[in-house]
Structures are given as C-alpha cells and as structure tokens.
C-alpha cells in the first residue's frame, strides 16, 4: 500500500480508537490510556520534523475537539513530535536507520523500542498531566498519574503492534 494512504488510514483509526473507545475507559486512580503517540512514533524516520509537528498538532486538535480538553492533547503531542528526531538521533543504531523500514518493535528490536518510545511516551504523558493539573503542590499526584498511565499506554501500544504489524521476513544467507 502507498505510504501516504497507509498513514492517513492509520491517522483515522488511531483517532477513532482513542476517542470512541479508550477515552470511555476509566481505570480509576486518575490513569488514562493514550495510544495516539504511537502514530507519531511510527511515521517514517526521514520525515521532516516540521511535517511531524504539523501532523501531531492536527491529530491532537482532533482529539481535543472530541474530549473537551481545548488544546491539551495538541500541546503534548506537539512536544513529543518536536523531541522525536533528537531521541532517535541519540539512540540511532550503529549504521543509521534503514529508510525503507518502519521504526516499529519488530524492525528495530525490543530494546531500542522500549528506550525510545518509553522516553517519548513519558514526556508526552508528563506534559499532559502537568498542564492538566497545573499546580506545583500536586506534583506527586502528577507523577503517580504519569507513571501509571504511561505504563498502561505502553503495554497497549506494544499489544497493538503484536496484533496488527507483521514480522518482516528475513532472508538470511
């Protein structure tokens, strides 16, 4: 499938899944499942950061419009998109990224995925909950919410990749 079409379909699917399913699930203790950062994460590596931020902002605004958060999701997703190239550069493999492969759990290995996606997801969640509470004396509660939500979001993101992404065939000599 064409890369653009594939990502547009993904955009819609992530949006619908987040707004109509995951936003309705409430686990208690303030945890909130947010898997749409995975969409930004899975976009092609060589995509310009300007496009990355524009797409992130657009997806965030769409989710905001459906959950009465007025720009909160947009702001945190924008931050994550802005930081993605830097994090990718830090954890780049020895011979650089393969431009043809998608940067998912299978192609890059679980160790790399845990590090990069873990950091980006934590940044996204921390930014989100910090702005949502916006009080310094509740910072412990923000940490609790961030940690718990990031853990659940991470597990669900991994699970989604197990479900929908196919393992690339390796032709070893």
């Amino acid at each position: 499938m064409n890369l653009t079409v594939k990502n547009i379909v993904r955009f819609v699917l992530f949006f619908v899944l987040q707004v109509l399913v995951l936003n309705q699930i409430e686990i208690g203790t303030g945890a909130q499942i947010m898997i749409y950062p995975l969409f930004i994460f899975l976009l092609p590596v060589e995509l310009n950061v300007i496009f990355l931020m524009a797409i992130g902002f657009a997806l965030g605004i769409c989710i905001d419009a459906m959950s009465n958060t007025y720009g909160l999701h947009a702001s945190s997703l924008l931050t994550m998109a802005y930081l993605r190239p830097a994090i990718f550069r830090i954890f780049a493999p020895r011979d650089g990224y393969d431009a043809l492969l998608e940067t998912n759990l299978y192609t890059m290995g679980s160790k790399w995925f845990v590090k990069t996606f873990g950091i980006l997801l934590l940044v996204h969640h921390f930014w989100f909950f910090m702005l949502e509470m916006f009080k310094l004396n509740e910072v412990l509660y923000v940490f609790q919410k961030t940690g718990l939500s990031a853990l659940i979001s991470f597990l669900i993101s991994v699970f989604l990749q197990f479900l929908f992404l196919r393992k690339p065939k390796r032709n070893e000599a």
Binding site: L20, Q24, G30, M53, F57, T69, G71
Partner: protein, 279 residues
C-alpha cells in the same frame, strides 16, 4: 533583512514549535476560563452526533441501575400526589392555586458522553438551544446535583460537572444553614469538598449538604452529598469539609436541566443593586 531571513531559516523548527505550542496553550487556558464558542467542544455538530451514535450502543450497560433509580424517584414523587393524601379538613378546597407559581421547570436530557477521571470532567447532553437550554443553567439528576451548563450548541450542551476545579456551586449544610461552595480536589470521583464554612460552628458527620439556591441555578434543598469528615485548615478559621456525593457520576445517564423562570429578574435586580452601590 537577509540576516533576519537566515535567522528564521536557522531556527524554523523551534519557531514553529513555539508558535504552535503558544496556540495550543492559549486555547487551553482561555477556553478553561471563558468558554466562548462550541466549535472545539463535544457540543459541536460532528462530535455531538458521533457521541450520540456511540451512546445509543453503550447506554444499555447501566440501564438496570438507572431504571431502579428512576423508579425510586417516581415512588417518592407519587407519594406527594394529592390523590394519595388523606384530606383532613373538608371545608376548604382550593382549585385554582394563586399563592404558588411555578418558578423552576425541568427539561429531561440524556448524557451521551462523560468523563470522570480527568482533572476537569464534562458531560455532553443531548439537548441544546433549540430546547431552550442556556449557559449557566443548573443540571440535576434524580439523586442530586450534577453541575452547570457551560457550552450550548443547537442540539447539544456541555455540562461542567461537580468534578471540576472551581465549579463553585453555592451549597449549605441543611441542618444549620451554614453556607459555602462546592469544590473538587481531583482525586476521587466519589468525594468533593465544601469550603468557606467557619470553624466556630460544629459539624456533624452524615449531615446533608444541599444547594443554597442563591444564584438561581438550582432550587433550594437539592441534595449534593453528605459530610464524611472535617479538618481545620491551618492558619485559617475555616473547616475543610469532605463530602460524599449523592450521585454516582460514573453511571448517571438521565439528567434534568433546571430552568429558572425568574433568573432574569434576579440577575437584573442584583446587577442594578451592584451598579447603584458602586456609584
């Protein structure tokens, strides 16, 4: 000029980031305090209809609980009907009651989208300005207070529930008449706080907290919750009272919007009073 363009080209990523971030944050903070339009909320046309569609599928999940609650309310109201009362004095029968006039009307509505674990939680209901809903009207359920209308579109409205920071619903303790405001600390959707009660008064556990009816949003005496605990705030002569909400915000589906027919009169009088005081 060339330097300026070079500067922009050099820092274009950072500049775009700051620009978009500023846009998002200014939107977030202005809408949080002054909600002006309904386009970015769940009251808008598209999201309203989307949530109505999903609610039509999922509303059966809490149907049993809601039906029992409504039936209980019916029993309570039915017991107040005149035909169920024994008439003690047969001399006077009033047919046209001219001493009472309806002040509050109730518009039934269905909750089509709700959250309860965020810092500020909103409900979307399926009636709007075409059903004469206006911003600032109160919303109650069969068990107690839900919140205040925040945004209205043609067919939908967003309710700022008791589970928001600074919902500021005027409340009083039913037995003593001491009054304060309802707030929510953001941790548990079952418990809220009542602030502004002076600590020279005694607080009894399980005393009912009801609406004060001072702002004209709610009639007086609609239950909000029951007092669970009270601590003295350090350095202030005030109680920090925790109350258990009467309504379970997680399962509520049917609500009523309170329409006060005299609200305009009260607002006019109070505005007039304020303007003459400042002169």
């Amino acid at each position: 000029m060339r330097n300026f363009l070079a500067f922009i080209r050099r820092f274009r990523v950072l500049l775009l980031f700051v620009l978009l971030q500023g846009l998002a944050l200014s939107m977030y903070f202005t809408f949080l305090t002054f909600p002006r339009s309904q386009y970015m909320t769940t009251a808008s046309y598209i999201s309203g209809h989307a949530f109505e569609f999903t609610n039509n599928i999922t509303q059966y999940l809490h149907l049993k609980k809601n039906n029992t609650a409504l039936q209980k309310e019916n029993v309570r109201l039915r017991s107040k009907l005149p035909q169920n009362l024994l008439q003690l004095d047969r001399e006077y029968i009033t047919i046209n009651d001219t001493l009472h006039r309806i002040q509050y009307e109730y518009l039934p509505a269905r909750v089509i989208n709700s959250t309860h674990s965020k810092r500020n939680n909103y409900f979307t209901i399926d009636i709007g300005s075409s059903q004469r809903v206006e911003r600032g009207m109160g919303v109650i359920s069969s068990k107690g207070v839900i919140g205040v209308i925040q945004n209205v579109s043609e067919n939908f409205a967003v309710v700022r529930t008791c589970l928001t920071e600074k919902v500021r619903i005027a409340a009083m303790i039913e037995s003593t008449g001491e009054h304060g405001f309802i707030d929510w600390k953001g941790e548990n959707s079952k418990y809220g706080t009542l602030s502004g009660i002076s600590n020279d008064s005694k607080i009894k556990k399980w005393d009912a907290v009801v609406t004060r009816g001072s702002a004209g949003m709610f009639p007086q005496g609609i239950p909000i919750g029951k007092i669970v605990s009270s601590i003295i705030i350090e350095g202030k002569p005030l109680w920090d009272i925790t109350l258990l909400f009467a309504e379970n915000f997680r399962t509520v589906q049917r609500v009523y919007v309170v329409k006060n027919q005299l609200s305009r009169e009260q607002a006019q009088l109070e505005a007039h009073h304020q303007s003459t005081n400042t002169q």
